[in-house]
């Protein structure tokens, strides 16, 4: 039988394969085999105590399914046609068990009771020679649907996908409960042909009203399902007495007609509907993850990357601005530093000079020079040390300040060597000024020169008194004059020496000032240059790094976007294909609607 639905189903199986869902392929294949066969499975389901098993017993006119007032049915029972009555309990888990399903023959009357007790049983199978079943109809009794977690519910729902039609059993003592209505909706997704069988109409007088309300409620909820009221006890009584009228009264006549004519008469439509539902579900299952992924792609997961990219750009700009600023700051600071250093040096040297001058007011360079020289040397050294330490300290401070501006987030960017500039000897040699010696000969000469005038003066005067030129008085005066001139000469010479020493000190300090000042300025410039170079390098490195990062992020974003676009197109195409399948499946179900099945 080459039905159009087989083709659509095969295409769906292929689509499942393409989407790497071997589980679905497996399921659809087995379902396809079932659908291609002649059997029509009608699942009887409902909440507990509604009379599901009794309904089947009534239909086949034999107590094949165990009934009771408490929860009785715990495994599904399949009732189908057989030439002679036969029954078996199927054990083992069909899907997982290693041994595979086992079949244990059992007597027809007690098979379900035994299967319900047997914890290993998965279903009971019963074959009966009935005209109703001859056409391939198989009735499936199921455990009650209750709480979603219970094993019974689970078992029934596991059978549901194999059903071609379902009878929801609800007793006439009350209307369909919200949970039952919800169940119908759920069942229809798997198996679109559902009828509600209202049982136990013998028990309550108002069952007609209940049936009407149920019909109204179903219509209101948009659930297409006919309501068929039946009474199993009337049917059994009718079977016992052979009373045709009673049988009709029991409602089973209508139910059998529904099964026989509406269901079995339109097997092809049933198949189409089942296939449509199957395709619908499969497409939904396949499509949901696709749509999710598509939505995810469209949402764009690059937010974080883009944010990082933007941050990198901002960082780069900031660095650009900062570099101009820190250079200005650096040169300003260095200029300040030079001025300060110069002033400091000048002031210190001046003080030394003042002290030196005061010293030489009294001291005799001839005697005290070595002492002075040592003092001057010490003082100048300490000046140089203080000054250069200050320079280094200032520089360190400047360097840190600039470093903070250049690379606020990186640690110490300054090399230690930069600050360790060695201090050299700037003091030089201090030569002793030329001190003329006032030796004995000179003293004699000076004394003689002084005494000569005295001798002559007084000698001439005494010659007038008749004395010879050289006489004791003139000799005495000569000696006195000689001594005086020697003293005077000594004083003069000291003055001259002091002046010379002062000049020498002056010159030396000046020399020191010059050399040290030059040296110091050179150091400042050197460090300045080095600092600038270093900072420029660091800033540059930082910039390159950030620029690189930004570039990489941009590349990733670009690649990602391209990939996203590609996969989004891919997904959209896949979804479109699934939708096409869905439409084809839908068309299957709606081609020729048959009255009766759609209620």
């Amino acid at each position: 039988m080459a039905s159009p639905w087989l083709g659509v189903l095969d295409d769906t199986i292929q689509a499942c394969g393409a989407h790497a869902r071997p589980d679905l392929v497996e399921r659809l294949r087995s379902r396809r085999a079932e659908l291609a066969g002649p059997k029509v499975r009608v699942l009887v389901l409902g909440e507990s105590g509604q009379g599901k098993s009794q309904l089947i017993n009534g239909l086949v006119n034999a107590p094949v399914c165990a009934v009771g007032d408490d929860v009785t049915t715990s495994v599904p029972a399949v009732v189908q046609h057989a030439e002679a009555p036969a029954a078996a309990i199927v054990t083992g888990d069909e899907g997982r068990s290693l041994e595979g399903p086992g079949r244990v023959p059992a007597p027809v009357e007690s098979v379900t009771a035994r299967a319900n007790r047997d914890s290993g049983a998965v279903r009971a199978e019963i074959g009966l020679p009935r005209k109703l079943l001859e056409t391939g109809l198989a009735l499936v009794d199921s455990p009650p649907i209750g709480s979603p977690a219970s094993q019974h519910t689970h078992r029934t729902l596991a059978v549901l996908p194999q059903a071609d039609a379902a009878l929801l059993v609800s007793d006439a003592t009350k209307e369909l409960s919200p949970s039952e209505l919800d169940l119908i909706g759920r069942v229809q997704r798997f198996c679109p042909t559902v009828a509600v069988v209202l049982t136990k109409t013998d028990l309550v007088p108002g069952w007609r009203r209940v049936a009407e309300r149920n019909r109204a409620r179903l219509e209101q909820d948009g659930l297409a399902a006919p309501v068929i009221p039946v009474s199993a006890s009337l049917r059994l009584a009718a079977a016992k007495s052979g009373d045709k009228a009673l049988n009709e009264e029991s409602g089973y006549g209508a139910l059998v007609r529904y099964l026989h004519q509406d269901l079995m008469g339109h097997v092809d439509l049933l198949r189409r509907r089942s296939v449509a539902a199957l395709i619908h579900m499969t497409v939904e299952q396949l499509g949901a993850p696709l749509r999710e992924r598509l939505a995810e792609l469209r949402e764009g997961g690059t937010d974080e990357l883009t944010a990082r990219w933007r941050a990198a750009g901002n960082r780069l700009e900031e660095l650009q601005r900062e570099s101009a600023r820190w250079q200005t700051v650096l040169s300003d600071e260095v200029a300040d530093l030079i001025a300060d250093l110069d002033f400091d040096l000048r002031e210190r040297t001046r003080r030394i000079l003042r002290e030196a001058e005061e010293y030489f007011e009294v001291a005799d360079p001839a005697k005290d020079w070595p002492e002075f020289e040592e003092w001057l040397r010490d003082n100048l050294r300490s000046v140089a040390e203080t000054n250069s330490n200050w320079l280094l300290d200032r520089f360190e401070w400047i360097a840190r300040k600039i470093a903070r501006q250049v690379a606020p987030r990186t640690g110490d960017v300054l090399p230690e060597a930069l600050l360790g500039a060695e201090s050299r000897d700037h003091i030089g040699d201090l030569r002793m000024p030329n001190v003329e010696r006032f030796g004995l000969g000179q003293k004699l000469f000076v004394g003689m020169r002084g005494s000569y005038s005295g001798l002559l003066m007084f000698g001439l005067a005494t010659t007038l008194a008749g004395m010879p030129l050289i006489n004791p008085i003139s000799l005495g005066a000569g000696a006195a004059f000689g001594a005086k001139s020697i003293f005077e000469e000594r004083g003069n010479r000291l003055k001259r020496r002091q002046a010379a020493a002062k000049t020498a000190a002056h010159r030396h300090v000046d020399d020191f000032f010059l050399t040290y000042g030059k040296q110091s300025k050179d150091t400042v410039r050197l460090i300045h240059r080095e600092l600038r170079d270093r900072c420029t390098t660091v800033a540059h490195e930082l910039r390159t790094e950030i620029a690189d990062t930004a570039k990489r992020i941009k590349q990733v974003i670009d690649a990602d976007t391209a990939e996203r676009g590609a996969s989004a197109r891919e997904l959209a195409r896949a979804i479109e294909q699934l939708n096409l399948l869905y439409r084809r499946g839908h068309a299957l179900a709606t081609t020729h609607a048959v009255r009766g099945l759609t209620a």
Binding site: D69, V71, T173, T201, L203, P205, A237, E249
Partner: protein
């Protein structure tokens, strides 16, 4: 002092502590007044579970037939102490108005929770009832009633027997059992009709019984067939198919008076069993249940209006609850009767007697009638015996735990001042 007396004094102390708060005073006074009233029994359950029908059946007359909640006072009779029946709105999730659950919990001393089919029963209401610091001590104030026992058995004459089997399974196995004292099946509609049967109705039954069996049986096959005649339709709407079948069978079996039929219906619809359970678990222990309600009320006050003066009361309340052996006794009573707790058969009877299953006064409990020294001696004897059981390694852990409860009951009796 026992639990009711302690509760009474605690309530009075609370009244002193809250003398300046009119709301609290009103509330506490109300609870004091409730103490002396008859037991308030709320009949509650989901939509269409037969609450009003059961209230009528218990009251013996049609007192509740509308959707409004009603209260009905059942005066004391020989077989039954006074009761205040409360018909409540349905407690389904969708139908219930908010707060109605809490109101029922606060208003009632005990609760009958009606469920039609136990398979789909929703125990959340019972959980709410027990969800209170005081109530959590022991779920002693609830009975589950399978109110549509006839439908459970498909309306057959023996429906109640199979409903009893269902109830037995549920009271041992399921979550429901942990939330209530017992599970009792009742065919509510037939029970109500049986309690309110009129003479004409009996006559109709008598006439039905006179019809030959071959003619009657097809009539009784379905509700449709039976209600073909107007008189029979009225009968059907009152009794239900189960009630009609049962009554017809009974009359045919030889019951020849209206009172006889009513008594038989009472038995066979499970109503007498329900009344026994109410008596055993609720009205016999009215003091304990009243104390329980009062303690819940007191807890509410202490929680809503905390104040320094009430701090000792909080401690006192906690101590009272921790030491309330009466709750443990009641719970144990139900556990022994329903089979949740097991003791060897010969011990079970004695344990039931000692924890007050046959009467709360010491002579009944001890099974000795006599002056005080004799009673005290008996109490000490029982205490020693049960202490041995409690330590007997032959018994299982659960049995020894049960024995410990009995030991505490014996201790209480042996130490009671005015035995």
């Amino acid at each position: 002092m026992n639990l009711p007396e302690l509760t009474w004094s605690l309530l009075n102390r609370a009244l002193d502590a809250y003398a300046d708060s009119p709301r609290a005073t009103n509330w506490l006074r109300g609870h004091l007044a409730r103490f002396t009233e008859p037991l308030r029994l709320a009949v509650t359950g989901p939509h269409k579970s037969g609450r009003s029908t059961l209230v009528n059946a218990l009251a013996g007359q049609v007192v509740a037939n509308g959707p409004e909640p009603t209260r009905h006072h059942v005066p004391a009779t020989r077989s039954q102490p006074a009761l205040m029946l409360i018909d409540t709105p349905p407690v389904d999730a969708e139908a219930a108005e908010p707060g109605s659950l809490e109101r029922i919990c606060l208003e009632a001393d005990a609760v009958l929770y009606l469920i039609g089919h136990p398979h789909n029963a929703d125990p959340s209401f019972l959980r709410t009832v027990q969800d209170h610091p005081v109530a959590r001590a022991a779920p002693v104030n609830a009975l589950v009633v399978l109110s549509r026992a006839d439908e459970l058995g498909g309306g057959r004459v023996d429906a109640l027997i199979s409903a009893r089997q269902v109830a037995r399974r549920y009271r041992r196995e399921t979550e429901l059992a942990g939330l209530c004292q017992d599970i009792v099946p009742v065919a509510g509609l037939a029970a109500q009709a049986g309690r309110t049967m009129t003479e004409t109705e009996f006559e109709t039954f008598a006439a039905l019984a006179a019809v030959p069996k071959a003619e009657l049986e097809p009539l009784l096959l379905s509700a449709d067939r039976f209600s073909a005649e107007e008189a029979r339709a009225a009968l059907l709407s009152r009794f239900g198919l189960f009630g009609v079948r049962l009554a017809a069978t009974l009359v045919r079996g030889g019951v020849d008076s209206q009172a006889g039929l009513a008594a038989q219906l009472l038995q066979r619809t499970g109503l007498s069993e329900l009344r026994d359970a109410i008596a055993r678990y609720f009205t016999d222990r009215v003091g304990v249940l009243k104390a329980r309600s009062a303690l819940i009320g007191l807890e509410v006050v202490l929680r809503m209006e905390p104040r320094p003066a009430a701090a000792p009361l909080v401690t006192e309340l906690e101590r009272l609850l921790a030491g309330a052996h009466e709750f443990a006794e009641l719970r144990m009573l139900a556990a022994l009767r329903t089979g949740r707790a097991r003791l060897p058969e010969e011990l079970k009877e004695e344990a039931l007697r000692l924890i007050g299953g046959y009467g709360d006064d010491p002579p009944t409990r001890l099974g000795v009638a006599g002056p005080e020294p004799q009673l005290r001696q008996a109490a000490f004897g029982a205490l020693r015996l049960w202490q041995q059981y409690a330590e007997n390694p032959v018994l299982g852990a659960a049995e020894r735990r049960a024995a410990l409860t009995v030991v505490r009951s014996c201790e209480a009796m042996a130490m009671a001042p005015g035995l």
